[in-house]
């Protein structure tokens, strides 16, 4: 899975696309690894831009749970932005909406996660 990445200020914005399902969850997890390592206290916060994610299944959600646990153990900050209505529903039904900070837009997420200047 391609995981386009950019820095907005000191915030890492990652933009997965397509379906994060049984066929793609492992690649998604592998692509996340390096960025999660940096996502620690005093490091680089991560915003997952979900605008291009069409669908996420249980195995994809599991990858997000592991990411969330790793980041909180490192005192880092991670958030998800721009969920499409359908993927938002999956987050609500699975109660992952309670696990992650979510924002309507990438800009709002970056503003919230950016370390104070």
């Amino acid at each position: 899975m391609e995981l386009p990445s950019r820095l907005e200020g000191n915030v890492r914005v990652l933009s997965p696309t397509g379906r994060i399902d049984h066929a793609h969850a492992d690649e998604f997890q592998a692509a996340l690894t390096g960025y999660l390592a940096e996502c620690r206290a005093g490091g680089v916060p991560v915003v997952l831009d979900f605008a291009g994610v069409e669908y996420i299944s249980s195995v994809g959600l599991r990858v997000l749970m592991l990411a969330s646990r790793q980041v909180s153990a490192q005192d880092g900050c991670i958030a998800i932005a721009a969920l499409t209505p359908l993927v938002r529903e999956v987050f609500e039904i699975s109660r992952f909406i309670l696990v992650f900070r979510t924002f309507d837009s990438v800009a709002a997420a970056v503003a919230a996660l950016a370390p104070p200047a």
Partner: protein, 318 residues
């Protein structure tokens, strides 16, 4: 084939509480305020128009399902506290003086799945034969211990019926009570077993107290095979997915999301959510059901999967 649910709650029996009854009454009376209810039958029709979580209840007995199949001999899945009302109904149906053979298939031996046995009145009637099928070698010990002093007034040895224990193997077909029966090992503390029952053309799968680890694809495919083309899958959907993979990981239960995914992959026709969280009230279970139906719609990639949430008294004809 017919499935009748007598106990559908997970872990421990619960009852509707006084504050919950009050909340149901308030919801019903408030919604009726401006309705004309004077005509004969209008009140009944109004009550029947309310949601099941307001006008009814999912009930609180622990695991027990009756399967009515071709063979005519009663078939029961687990003996949780729901076995007591089941016994009453069986005696009403069969009359007091008609001894029979009862077949019970046990998922495992945790209290919530065996506690109804001492209250299953056919065990006190001479001439009855009760065969308890299980894949746990210690099944007899668990049933005897449950009734031993000082925990129960009637010792197992005093039961009037003949009780037999049949320790079975997994992953092979047996012919029992006119059914083709197969067991599968599941992930749960001390192990649990799922049951696949086939009666001619209809298949029911009973899979409770079963955790599914999402990073084990070969195990997932094993369950897809076990559920393959089932007409009904009764599935432990006790937790949300978020809880099942975090705070309640390794607690031995699963979620509605995994239930739908496995049933879709297996092309099962109907899913029944089961082993409800005892902390949930009726409104919460109704919400889980509505959510699950919506998730089925969102994730559908083939023919639709019908979704129900089990309640004490639900009857499903396959």
């Amino acid at each position: 084939m017919k499935a009748r649910f007598w106990g559908t709650r997970g872990s421990i029996p619960v009852s509707v509480t006084a504050p919950q009854v009050r909340a149901k009454l308030i919801a019903a009376v408030a919604a009726a305020r401006n309705l004309p209810l004077d005509a004969p039958g209008a009140v009944e029709a109004y009550v029947d128009s309310l949601g099941f979580d307001v006008a009814g209840t999912f009930g609180g007995h622990s695991s027990c399902v009756e399967v009515e199949a071709g063979g005519g001999e009663p078939v029961i899945l687990d003996l949780g506290s729901g076995a007591r009302p089941l016994a009453g109904d069986l005696l009403r149906r069969f009359g007091p003086g008609s001894p029979r053979t009862y077949h019970v298939f046990m998922s495992h031996l945790h209290w919530d799945h065996i506690m109804g046995f001492p209250f299953f009145s056919p065990v006190y009637i001479p001439g009855n034969r009760i065969v308890i099928h299980s894949c746990h070698a210690e099944v007899e010990h668990a049933f005897r211990r449950q009734q031993a002093a000082p925990s129960f007034p009637v010792d197992f040895g005093q039961l009037a019926a003949t009780v037999e224990f049949d320790v079975m193997e997994t992953d092979r077909d047996y012919a029992i009570a006119g059914l083709r029966v197969r067991a599968k090992k599941q992930l749960h503390a001390g192990d649990s077993y799922g049951w696949r029952l086939t009666d001619g053309s209809r298949t029911l799968v009973y899979s409770t107290d079963s955790e599914h680890k999402l990073d084990r694809p070969e195990e997932r495919m094993g369950f897809v095979e076990f559920f393959r083309d089932a007409d009904l899958v009764i599935f432990d959907a006790m937790y949300s997915l978020a809880d099942a993979v975090s705070v309640k990981a390794d607690w031995g239960h699963s979620s509605n999301i995994v239930a739908v995914e496995l049933c879709q992959l297996a092309k099962a026709r109907r899913l029944c959510l089961y082993h409800h969280e005892p902390a949930y009230d009726d409104a919460q279970i109704a919400r889980v059901l509505a959510d699950t139906r919506r998730y089925e719609e969102i994730s559908r990639d083939g023919p639709p999967l019908a979704v129900d949430a089990a309640w004490d008294g639900l009857e499903i004809t396959l």
